[in-house]
Symmetry: C2
Subunit: 211 residues, 2 copies
């Protein structure tokens, strides 16, 4: 297909596609003359992935580049490609380092849950930082509640991850990133509904009896 | 206590407290002269709540006012006070209305889960809107996955809501809002860890065997 159709299929304006070509994020088409080139489905797939990373997940271009390098590295197993994308989603440039206490607590929790999470993972840092924030606001969170979250998320992860199996790395990464980012608001609003449902049943009755 | 100590106890600067007093968000202290007044624990509690709503949850002052009116309305049962705060957290000013199809789907799901969620609740709108976004990005979400989320969130809501029981409405609202907002990143990062853990186990092996 020509550039015009690639633009239509990918939903991206021609200048944006040309920028990705110059920048090396998108591989060149097959040259058919001095200024023309033909593109194929691999270009459409790559542009969909770039769009998911840049527009949907709001990643910066250097983070997009890191993920694409993992997608293109054929020696990496698929779970590491998807892992690379997930890691970039959790990177927070200027956030302060978490306390040693919170970092240690996260390590202990993961061990007790028997979860495999890479030792230097940004997820560990992000969780430790969140625990610090809660402690600073005098709202500590118990190991029991964190354990409930872990059980709850383990029970949904199986189905979430299954959509990624048997796909090429490009599609798998796109599905994983879109799924992670776009399903977050869905999960959170369902959490609020669940709280409303439980509150309505358990905090019912006149106030004088409730406190 | 005098204004200086109220400022210290609440962590808010004196001009901010005076603004809340003028604005009626904070009730007046006991006048002890033309320009002095004494404050008590009820002022500290109210300022903590305002801070949680405005700073932690990032709510606008009119939303804060709506929640405080619910806290002060002694005819409202506690679950409605907490519900009012939750509703304000989901209000999105300029977001487009969800499609009729998504709205209907949310109604059906809630019925099938047997959840009590107020008919005009912002949560319903927020969920319907999220489902529309996913469909527009060609990433529809199945009833099965939504059901998994519902089961998972129902299982944690019990412990989450229990921290609110037996508290005065001011403290209950503060705990509920802080808990909802600050525990969201905790839940989301645990979800990503759970996905990493499942991916590492299920997408393992060389790529050639994976796709």
């Amino acid at each position: 297909m020509w550039m015009a159709e690639l633009s239509k299929r990918s939903g991206l304006p021609v200048p944006t596609i040309k920028f990705y070509l110059r920048d090396g994020l998108l591989h060149p088409g097959e040259a058919t003359g001095a200024t023309r080139a033909r593109y194929d489905e691999s270009h459409v797939r790559r542009l969909r992935l770039i769009r998911a990373l840049a527009e949907v997940a709001g990643l910066r271009l250097d983070a997009v580049r890191t993920i694409l390098a993992a997608v293109d590295d054929e020696s990496l197993p698929l779970h590491q490609v998807v892992g690379s994308a997930h890691t970039q989603l959790s990177v927070k440039e200027s956030a302060p380092a978490p306390s040693a206490e919170a970092t240690q607590r996260v390590d202990q929790l993961l061990r007790s849950w028997k979860w495999r999470v890479a030792p230097g993972s940004e997820h560990r840092t992000a969780l430790a930082r969140a625990l610090d924030t809660l402690a600073a606001l005098d709202h500590p969170v118990s190991d029991e509640l964190l354990g409930d979250y872990a059980d709850a998320m383990a029970s949904v992860a199986r189905r979430e991850v299954s959509v990624v199996r048997g796909q090429d790395p490009e599609t798998a990464t796109e599905r994983a990133v879109i799924g992670t980012v776009l399903l977050e608001p869905v999960l959170l609003v369902i959490r609020r509904m669940a709280q409303e449902n439980v509150s309505a049943r358990r905090l019912r009755g006149p106030r004088t009896r409730t406190y």
